[in-house]
């Protein structure tokens, strides 16, 4: 019998390459794929997906006890936390300005600037700054973050339809990258990328966050929308071809399976093992759907995710 000929895909599209950092900081490039994730026989993946660790600007006392115990004292100091995160293998730091949320301390621009300065000076890896996820507050703190990090090419999110002009203007003025967030929808994702390009941001300054749902909480929708976005991009749609950014840690650790220690059925198993698996499986699914940057919370998951990325890259 003759050798089996495996059908290969001849994609015409390519994911835009986006560079974070530089100008004295370490830099890292994501994107550039000409294949679906890790199918090296179809095309190239010049840059491997990277792992960010989430750092917050407040002490997250509401986090799972497993996260609190593994991070320990650094949780009250974003600078020390970021340093520790780099030791644990973070390729980049994702600073979540959670204290700016109206339901938290409702802090403003000056506090945001301070936290960003702290993290930028504590580590030399690239940085992502995320607002509290409320459009008006995001505007306020992200503009401040942008100025504080001028020239250091950080990424700023959420940039939603509502506030995209403000965030894009900051990115243009200070040389940053916008993280365009849309709710699990192919067309909305493309639409926001188009809007951002219309106001002058170039495709190499946009990451897209198609919204992450955790395992058990919408992962299948995210998985399929990401897969469709990637297929569209490889088919030649440049407005679907932004590298994808996913907040897996945040989504998994807020679910009951990870949060609740008592009063759950014994069939749920050991709490730590379950929580870690929840985050790890969410991460590997997102990687297989095309994620370029994944934000995680637990150091063990970081180690595992990085090891699996290396294995997927070297096959």
């Amino acid at each position: 019998m003759s050798a089996v000929e495996v059908p290969t895909e001849k994609w015409t599209g390519k994911i835009h390459e986006v560079k974070l950092g530089g100008n004295g900081r370490k830099s890292v490039v994501v994107g550039g794929e000409t294949t679906l994730p890790f199918l090296h026989f179809d095309g190239k993946m010049p840059n491997k997906p990277i792992i960010a660790i989430e750092v917050q600007d407040r002490n997250p006392t509401d986090w799972s006890p497993h996260l609190i115990s593994v991070w320990g004292d650094v949780l009250s100091d974003p600078g020390a936390w970021a340093k520790k995160a780099v030791e644990y293998g973070a390729d980049i730091i994702a600073l979540r300005l959670r204290s700016a949320h109206p339901e938290e301390a409702n802090t403003g621009a000056s506090e945001a600037k301070k936290s960003v300065d702290t993290v930028l000076s504590a580590v030399d890896v690239p940085v992502v700054v995320l607002g509290p996820g409320v459009a008006e507050k995001d505007n306020e703190v992200l503009v401040a973050a942008s100025e504080a990090a001028k020239g250091q090419r950080i990424a700023l999110g959420n940039c939603e339809e509502k506030n995209h002009r403000t965030i894009a203007a900051s990115c243009l003025a200070d040389g940053h990258i916008a993280i365009a967030k849309t709710p699990i929808d192919l067309n909305l994702a493309k639409q926001l990328n188009i809007l951002l390009c219309d106001v002058g941001l170039s495709p190499d300054s946009i990451l897209m966050d198609p919204t992450t749902g955790a395992l058990g909480y919408g992962i299948e929708y995210c998985y399929s929308v990401m897969e469709r976005l990637r297929l569209a991009a490889l088919g030649g749609d440049t407005m679907a071809a932004m590298p994808m950014f996913c907040t897996a840690g945040e989504e998994t650790w807020r679910q009951k399976e990870s949060k609740v220690t008592e009063g759950v059925p014994p069939t749920w198993g050991d709490h730590l093992e379950r929580s870690l698996t929840w985050e790890g499986i969410t991460a590997i699914m997102l990687l297989n759907a095309g994620a370029d940057i994944i934000v995680l919370r637990h150091p063990n998951t970081v180690t595992l995710a990085k090891a699996s990325i290396d294995k997927l890259m070297s096959a």
Partner: protein, 447 residues
Amino acid sequence: MALTGIEIYKFLPKTNCKECGFPTCLAFAMKLAAKGVELSLCPYVSEESKQALESASRPPIRLVTIGTGDRKIGVGNEVVLYRHEKTFYNPPAFIIQIKDTDSADDVARIVDEVSSYSVERVGLELKLNGVAIENASNNGDNFVKCVELVKSKTDLPLILMSNNPSAMDQALEKVSDAKPLIYAANKENVDQMVELAKKYQCPLAVYEPAGLSELAELVTRVTDAGVEDVVLDPGAREFGQSLSALTQIRRLAIKKSFQPLGFPVITFPGQGSGGIEEEAMLAGQQVAKYAGIIVLDRFTPGVVYPLATLRLNIYTDPQKPIQMTPGIYEIGKPTKESPLCVTTNFSLTYFSIAGELESSGFPAWLMVCDTEGLSVLTSWAAGKLDADKIAKTVKEFNVADKISHRNIIIPGGVAVLRGELEEELPDWKVMVGPRDAVDVGGFLKKQ
């Protein structure tokens, strides 16, 4: 690949003799395409056409059944590469592997745990699907003893793992009625394993790690010898190898209708990873990227529960979220004084809040609105959960008759609906509950 009516028509006699009970050959062909009738109704279709039709309508990936009775499993029969193109149909089986070198006590305990494991999620019972017994001792008697012990403890499908045909024969003699999967035929033992598969009428796994061409060649030998139910093991164990091999196999089957590889694939994530968490991640990848049977090295609920959840998620029809029937549900034994809560008919949403209400210890009425299977925030954003919908649901199910008070609790996520809802339900007091279901017990306690 399923044929269209027109394609089938080409193979029919085109004489419109009506003997099949249809007015024309085309009408019969249409019905055949819709799988409403059997080809045998037409007495005139030629032997050649019959064969051509059969092979053309053969599914690109054969459905293989392992085990018997209620808990038998059917794997394969997938038709797409990406779930959004249609759906994935037959969830991969999760099998727990034991060894015939494990102590009898351990084996008995694990098999009990595996058989009885059942975890509830969105109203469904998620379970494990079988036990694989490895002939690690390489001794036929030990193997048979262990297989018999397992069989005596469970009705779950079995996989018999031995490269040794005589050990396999001994074991099959005892348990072939249970239709276990024979694992595996390889280059050396293929002829003997084929004989066993035929003698005992059991499905056969084919292991060939040298490459897909070699695997296809070996499978062809097996199928040419008359074994129809085949499971593939390309031996690709690690993350990257597994993704490549399984994607290529799926592509060849679906896009090229390449029959030698048109079978479900078995994976062993434990062999391709370091620890249990990594095994779970690799198994997770294989749920989506294209395994039919996943053999886990260990049974641990903390890993099995997330994996079973993932399997449920990925194998949900993308067009149809799992839904509840709208209506008024009793949580505990509610009375006329019990609180009334509102939620949506997305199963995940319903079971999240119903579960928390139940464990809070407060009996309650839970009113489920028809939001076409969307969650609270999604349905609100899509305009499918608004004050009007809630008010109508209250009326439709005569909710007012069930309770003596007029308080209605809405999810915290849609607090904005409060004002409008008070206008729609003038005699009622609208209360905003917590955003997360977990906090509902604390909320009710304060009331």
